[in-house]
Structure formats: C-alpha cells, structure tokens
C-alpha cells in the first residue's frame, strides 16, 4: 500500500466527518464522504493493511500484501477474485485460522468493534532471513501465540462466524446435527440456556391455562394458530424451546392432537428439578458467567492495547475449574444429573434454529447425521450453526460453489432473506461475479493479494474502473447477452513468491504504462464509496 499519506487540496475542502474513534492519526476521512459519515460509526469490522505470508521451501509467498476494507452493520460485502488471489486467506486471517506453519499473519490491524484482533502480533514470532536462499527462519513464541488464540475465543463464533466452502467436510461425521449445533449453542449461549432452565416455572397456573388453550386451538385452528398457541406455552414456562417441542408434539399427533396433553405434561416434567439438580445447574451457570467475564477481559485487552493483569488475577481467583482456557460449557463437562435435561433443551433449540433456515422437517434433520443429508441441506445446517451464536459478522467462504445451480438459488434466496431478517453483516467470498451481483451491497475486487477496486455493487457493474475488473466482467458468458463477444484476460495469476513489481496486474494489463512497472499505485477515490488502485485514475488519494 502507499506508505506516504498524501492529502490533496481537494480532500481538505471536504467537510470533516465524524471523528474516528480508533487511535489512528489522520485528518479528514477522504474515504467516507459526508453523506456516509453516520454510517461510519456502524463499522463492525475494519481491516487495515493486513499482510499474511506463507513461508515455504521455495520462498515467502506474500498471499496478502496490504489489504484494507471495512464492513458495516447489516451490510453484505462481496470479496471477489480469481483462484489464488487471497480471498480465503483474508477470511482465515480474520478468524486467525491460518495454519501456522507455514502461514503467519505478519502485520496490520483487524478491528472488530474497536478491538484489535492482531494486538501483540509482533511479540508472537521473530523472523530472520537465511542468507542467499530467500527463505526465512521463524522463531515462534508459543506462549504468546497461545495467549492470542485464547483471546480469539472471545471473538470466534460469537462475534465472527464462518461458513466453509465444502459443507460435507466441515461437519463431523460421527455426531448428529443436533449434537453439533447444540455444542455451538452451549458454548456461545450457555448462560442464557442455563438461566432459562433455572428460572423455568413449570407449576405456574398460566402454564396449565396455556396448555389447555393450545389443545383447544389444535382442535380446529390453522397450522399457524396452533403454532402460536404452542409457543405461548413456552413463553408461559419461560423456556421457549418447550413451546417448539409442544408444537411438534401437536403436529405429529395429527387428528388426535387434542388428546396429547399427557405428552406435553411429560415434556414439562423435565423442567421440574430436584435440589441437587438445581445446585448443579447453578454450578454450570457460574462457569458460563466466568467464561463471559473472561471474554470481556480479552476484548478489553484487545481494545485498549494494554494487558489487564488485575482483571485476570481476579478471574483466576474465582475460577472453579483448572484455568481460564478450559472454562466453558460442554455437554460432557456437565454433571450427569442434569445432562439429559440440557441435551434435550439443546435438541429443541436446534430444531428452532433449523426452522429459521427453511428446513421443512427439522425434527428428523436434527436427529440425523451429516451423511444422511444432501449438499444443499448441509449448507443450510452450516448456516444455521453459524447463525446460532448470533454473530455480528458472518464470513461465507464460497458458500455455493460446491452446489448445483438450483440449490445455489435456494441458498442465495436464504441468504437474502436472512440479511433482511437477522441483520448480520456478511462477508461473501466467491469467484462468481454473478453471485455477488445477486446478494452483495458492496464489492471488493482482489487481485494477487491486493484489493484493486471497491465500490457499491451497482456502481461496480456499470462503471468498472480497474482494468482487471473490466476484464473479469467482459470474460463472463452472459445468459442475457448471448451475442456478446467473450474477451479474455491474457496470461494467468502471477506467482506470489516473486510477484510482479509495481502494480501486480501490469503484465496482463492492456493499459500498462511505464510507471505501472515500478510503483505500486495508490488507492484513489473515484466517486461515492468507489475506490480504485490504478494509475489511470487521478482522484484524491484515499486515507484509511
């Protein structure tokens, strides 16, 4: 990226937008015009100058070489580019899942709600070039790396969730769907679940009334009325999943639904706890609470950039298990007196989650194993799992590439629906510009480890500026323009061990100029929210 921060005179005349809360020196924000200033505060993920290298025997692969972008709340950002341009590496770098060795995130900032996920990065390893080989000797400091991974547990899943490309290999074949989604639920929402169980009121008179009402409705009501009445039982008890269970009891009973009171009462019985069970549930609640406080400490450390030693000591004094790292709820850590209850609760919560992604028979699917489901179905399950922890950001890494077109249409429809319903920010990674056009709000085009162009989706497709974007768009055969001449970009993606000097696209670029071979072009602003890194354009330089 451009190292020197130039501020054009044109930039200075822009009205100063809302002050950036993050600690970065800088004048007015040229990248965010005044009209977008309020939206700027909604930035949930801010990636700045991210560099990720892979250290191989052939040399250092600079997979990401200064990538910067922002994701705002509720927005869908498309990351698009050819194979090997660093799309997936970006996603894995954000959640710090780069396999190490050989890969390492080298520098940059990933600000998740103001917390820098790469805090203390420079202390994790030292690098020493080996003479005359092009290779680098790395000394890793494992204590620091482990601490960083611990801190990431405060962000992974709960803050940033990932959907992987191949759903069949992303699921564990030996656990049922409800086990796997239940695990995620317990990990991220354990406190809420245990609280609901502890505060359940199975003997409340309102519950009996709600049950009678639901049975009455099931006699002649429509499906949605029965559903509402059944869910009201859950609300009366204070355990929403019980309502879901009651609904499926009524549904499966069919015409004999009005006589299914014993089944519902039986389901209710699992919420009547003995004193010992209560004590154990309170123990689990305490673990969940400590986990939550530990996560808060981690986030504070990453936000403020200073180690929270006192907070850590305080936490350690209160710990009930070995240490903070093992401090989380897992089904097999829960005392067996309450395990069945929790398992059942997770099962019905899973069913409710699966309903949310449009699975028609969630009871059977939740009970099933990954091999019993088709690719499209599994991808829905993956999306359900990723969303079950209510993340701020969903990283979708080629979610439809392995699927057929008709199934892809189903999944894209689901993602559009979720976008409007849930409001999670989505980072959609794909090589398919058509998929991006259908779902994304904004698009970053990547080439050989750089972002070459960023623009709102309509703008990018109607006014592509970078020659690479233009080439990509011209090389797609289009169903609506059958007579279009297909033009191709000559050559192929460069080797990233010895990337081309200057602009990395210049060997394939039809407009290459002498300057392109020597200097990397700065990112310039070419219209509202539209930035491009190319010497063909001479707008004001974007400031991060």
């Amino acid at each position: 990226m451009s190292s020197a921060v130039r501020i054009n005179s044109e930039t200075d005349t822009l009205p100063a937008s809302a002050p950036d809360t993050s600690p970065v020196s800088g004048g007015p924000l040229a990248s965010a015009p005044a009209s977008e200033a309020p939206a700027h505060r909604d930035v949930v993920l801010d990636v700045r100058d991210l560099k990720t290298y892979f250290f191989t025997y052939d040399g250092v692969v600079k997979a990401l070489d200064g990538v910067s972008f922002k994701v705002r709340r509720g927005e869908t950002l498309g990351l698009v580019g050819e194979t090997g341009c660093g799309k997936s590496v970006t996603a894995f770098s954000i959640t710090r899942l780069i396999p190490d060795p050989p890969g390492r995130v080298m520098s940059g900032k990933i600000l998740y709600r103001g917390a820098n996920l790469l805090w203390n990065l420079e202390r994790e390893a030292t690098f020493k070039p080996i003479r005359n080989t092009g290779r680098v000797k790395i000394r890793r400091r494992f204590r620091q790396i482990r601490a960083a991974m611990d801190r990431m547990s405060a962000v992974r899943g709960g803050g940033v969730s990932t959907i992987f490309q191949e759903p069949t290999s992303a699921m564990n074949p030996i656990f049922s769907i409800s086990d796997q989604i239940g695990e995620a639920l317990l990990l991220h929402r354990g406190m809420e679940i245990v609280d609901a169980l502890l505060n359940a009121k199975p003997d409340d008179p309102a519950v009996a009334a709600a049950i009678d009402h639901a049975l009455e409705v099931s006699r002649h009501g429509t499906n949605s009325e029965v559903r509402a009445a059944a869910l009201a039982i859950g609300t009366a008890v204070g355990v929403p999943s019980l309502g879901v269970q009651a609904y499926y009891i009524l549904r499966e009973a069919g015409p004999s639904a009005p006589e299914s009171k014993p089944e519902i009462l039986h389901a209710l019985r699992r919420l009547k706890f003995s004193g010992l069970q209560r004590a154990y549930l309170r123990r689990e609640r305490r673990i969940a609470e400590l986990r939550k406080r530990a996560n808060e400490v981690y986030l504070t450390e990453m936000r403020t950039g200073s180690p929270q030693r006192m907070a850590r000591v305080n936490l350690s004094r209160q710990r009930t298990t070995a240490n903070l790292r093992t401090l989380y709820l897992s089904l097999w850590g829960i005392r067996r007196h309450v395990r069945r209850t929790v398992q059942n609760e997770l099962y019905w919560r899973t069913v409710a989650t699966l309903e949310g992604v449009g699975i028609g028979n969630p009871v059977q699917v939740a009970r099933g194993y990954p091999h019993e489901l088709s690719g499209g179905m599994l991808q829905r399950v993956m999306i359900a799992m990723a969303l079950s922890s209510e993340p701020d950001i969903l990283l979708a890494d080629e979610p439809t590439t392995a699927l057929d077109v008709t199934i892809q249409a189903q999944i894209l429809e689901l993602m559009r629906d979720l976008k409007s319903r849930v409001g999670t920010a989505i980072v959609l990674i794909t090589h398919d510009l058509a998929v991006i056009a259908e779902v994304a709000d904004r698009v970053c085009v990547m080439y050989a480890g750089h972002i070459v162009e960023t623009a709102p989706v309509a703008e990018l497709y109607h006014r592509p500026l970078h020659p690479y974007t233009q080439g990509l768009l011209a090389s797609i055969p289009r169903l609506d323009q059958p007579d279009k001449e297909l033009t191709s970009i000559p050559g192929s993606v460069p080797n990233l061990i010895t990337p081309p000097t200057g602009c990395r696209f210049h060997p394939r670029c039809p407009h290459a100029m002498p300057v392109c071979k020597t200097e990397h072009p700065p990112t310039t602003v070419e219209g509202s929210g539209h930035t491009v890194a190319c010497y063909l354009y001479t707008g004001p330089v974007a400031v991060e």
């Binding site: 050819e82 194979t83 088709s374 499209g376 179905m377 057929d404 077109v405 008709t406 199934i407 892809q408 249409a409 189903q410 894209l412 429809e413 090589h431 398919d432 510009l433 058509a434 998929v435 991006i436 056009a437 259908e438 989706v457 309509a458 497709y461 109607h462 080439g471 990509l472 768009l473 011209a474 090389s475 797609i476 055969p477 289009r478 169903l479 609506d480 059958p482 279009k484 297909l486 033009t487 191709s488 970009i489 000559p490 192929s492 993606v493």
Partner: protein
C-alpha cells in the same frame, strides 16, 4: 433435413444401468438408471450442449457416445449416409418411443419384427457398439474427449511432448519425427509455445493444462470431441480463453463438439443446440436461441431462472425449486421431475411423458404440451390464449426466466 450438414454421431435410445450390489453374495439388488433412453444427433461442425445438474447422467452419456463404457441397450451410429439416416429416423418413428431392444420380450407384430431386423442390419454396419478390432479403432480415431479435471487427466510422469504424441503412437500415425513435428504444430494451435514440449504437466497452470488436453484430443484430426466440463475447474478469465480457442478450432477444422456442462451461460455462448437432462432422461432439446428464449419444460425454466446474472440492476422473478434431485436408484414414477415441479398435475405421477416434437426441432417431454399430431389442426398448442409467454402454464405465473425481464 435438407441443407443440414451430415450427421457425425447419432445416438438412439441409449441406456445404461449400473447394478447396485449388496446382500450376502453381492447379488444385484437394484439398478442406478444413470442414462435411460437418451437420443441425440450431432452434426458436422456443430456444438451440442448437454446440461443438467450433478448426477443427472451427463458425463455417462458422453462416455457412452465414445464407447468408453458399454451401454445396456441402444445404439450410436457413426456417420450413417444421409439416406440411411433418413431411413433410421423413419424406423424409430414407426417403432414409437418404446426402446426397440425391450420390444423383443413381448411377442411383436410381424411388421415390428421386420423393422427390427432392418435396424439390426443398419446397426451392424454403422453402430459403434457393434464394431470390433480395426473397425472400432478407425471410429475411435475420429471421436475424442477432453476431461473435466486438467490435474488428474494428464500423467505426471510424462513430458508434454509424449502426452500429446501418445494418441498418434497408438494409432501408428507417421514416423517418430513426423509425430513430434505434429505435436509442435498442435501446441501452436492451442496457444502454447514449442518450449513447453519439454516440460511436465505440474509446471503448468490449470488453463494451460486444459490446452494440453485439447491438443491431445486434436492430435488424430477427430471429427467429434466430447468436452466433459472443460472449463468448470478454471477461473472465468481463463475460461474465456479456452472457449475462444475451442470456437476458433471449430471454425478452422469443422469439428463437432458435445459440450457437457452444468453452466448454462457457457453453454449458451458456445452451443448451436442444447439438450437438457434430468435424472437420466432428456427433458428438452432445441436450438440454443429457441431454448433460451422460450424454454418449455418447467425444469428448463427453473434452471434458467436459477442462474445468477452479473447485473445487480436486473431484477427477475425467479422460480426456486423445492428440495433436491431424487436418487437415480429409485427414480420417481411417471415424470421424474414431478416431485419438484411447480406445475405438477395428477397425470404426472403416473404416466411418463414421451419426448415429442412440439414445434420444429423443439422436443420436450412434459404433459403440459399435448402432442401436435393429436391436437386439432390449426391450433398452436404452445400458446394458451392471453399468456404473455408461449408455453408458460398459469401455475408458474409471468416468471419464466429471462424473456420476462429483458
């Protein structure tokens, strides 16, 4: 058809069942009906696109046409003379949609027996499944294939020169030096340099490897190349390069292609006519423009509307199909698409619709379209009164694919 180029390959009622073995003695407990009675013609210099979802039998059809796998029944005729081809058409029309090979079980009428024996004689002469030894080798020379995965279809232990020269060697074409001369020419034709002769496949990118695969297929100057998803492992910019090369070669050498792909936009860009398959059956067959502007089968309509278009301003009504493709081991009775069809009728679940020509060169297998031979004269069965789209039944609404939007 007068004026049409001659037929290179003509498949009739080709069927392939893969046995499912199980039980104590690995006995046959069922069949996967991978390809169930497929018929198609490929003319000289023409590209036929074969599309469908994964598992519908596209690749199996490609391999059957080259006799890389043996069919269970049916014939594929290689270059029948025009008069023989016309006679074949007649015979198959008279025999009806029932596969000829199964007809022998029920005692057939004398006329049928006569037709079948005539068919047998033609098949003996022209069907690639009846040829042996040298005759077969001569046919094989003219039918080549490019595989989907450029990474596993080239031997990692052979030089590019030897890979491309291998088909020439097998068919004893020329002397060694002549063969290598030809290899150098071939590489030039697909846009590679002579210096690439001395390299191994791992030194190439995906697009370059696919070019090597194409050069190998071209080596024997074939008449037909089966392209089995040649670009699905490649990036879009490289895909365009490969498609352009294929079109250039077709212009220069009058090659016929069978282009197998699940990517409809690519098929539209390169094909002259398109065959749509669903669960081992052809559901629709038409010229490319005809198929894409007025798709008739509900499956084709859904397939077209499912394809994302790289233009955010273009908003379309789409048909989203429910559920997944059923297993080909236990295909649904009647029309195989009826479990997912948005325009399903009671008849669909019991009677299998035959593939009929509802309009010139436009074949469709769907109960929505009555047989024009049965329909009263003068009425166009495809245009229900007041419908904005010909052939779009009401249950779908005004939503069929692109023509509604553009």
């Amino acid at each position: 058809m007068p004026g049409e180029p001659p037929v290179v390959l003509s498949a009739r009622n080709v069927r392939k069942l893969f046995p499912i073995r199980g039980g104590v003695f690995s006995t046959r407990i069922g069949d996967v009906r991978a390809v169930d009675g497929v018929s198609l013609d490929i003319h000289e210099g023409e590209t036929v696109g074969l599309v469908g979802e994964s598992g519908c039998g596209k690749t199996t059809v490609g391999r059957l046409l080259l006799r890389l796998i043996e069919p269970t029944s049916g014939q594929t005729y290689y270059r029948p003379p025009p008069e023989t081809f016309d006679r074949l058409q007649e015979i198959y029309r008279e025999l009806g949609p029932v596969p000829a090979d199964d007809g022998a079980a029920t005692s057939p009428s004398p006329e049928t027996v006569k037709l079948l024996s005539e068919l047998d004689r033609i098949a003996d002469q022209y069907s690639i499944y009846r040829q042996r030894h040298k005759n077969l080798a001569r046919v094989r020379e003219k039918l080549q294939i490019v595989f989907q995965d450029p990474f596993s279809s080239l031997s990692p232990r052979m030089l590019v020169r030897d890979i491309v020269a291998e088909p020439l060697e097998i068919h004893h074409v020329g002397s060694r030096s002549q063969r290598y001369q030809r290899v150098a020419e071939l590489l030039q034709e697909v846009g590679l340099n002579p210096e690439h002769l001395w390299r191994f496949p791992h030194e190439f990118s995906g697009g370059q490897r696919q070019r090597i695969g194409i050069a190998r297929a071209l080596a024997l100057r074939p008449e037909l190349i089966v392209l089995d998803e040649p670009t699905s492992a490649l990036d879009v910019s490289v895909q365009a390069q490969i498609l352009n090369i294929l079109q250039k070669l077709q212009r220069e050498q009058r090659l016929a292609y069978l282009f197998i792909s699940h990517h409809l936009s690519v098929v539209r860009a390169i094909s002259h006519s398109v065959v749509v398959m669903y669960l081992g059956k052809v559901v629709e067959r038409a010229k490319t423009d005809e198929l894409f502007t007025r798709p008739l089968h509900p499956y084709t309509q859904a397939l077209l509307s499912a394809i994302p278009i790289p233009d955010p301003a273009l908003k379309r009504e789409r048909i989203i199909l429910k559920g997944d493709v059923p297993s080909p081991a236990a295909p649904p009775p009647g029309c195989r698409f009826h479990t997912r069809c948005p325009a399903v009728m009671p008849i669909c679940s019991s009677v299998e619709p035959p593939l009929i020509e509802v309009r010139e060169n436009h074949w469709v297998a769907c109960h929505l379209y009555p047989d024009p031979r049965i329909a009263p004269e003068g009425t166009d069965p495809l245009v229900p009164a007041g419908s904005p789209l010909p052939g779009t039944p009401d249950p779908l609404g005004p939503s069929s694919g692109l023509s509604a939007a553009s």
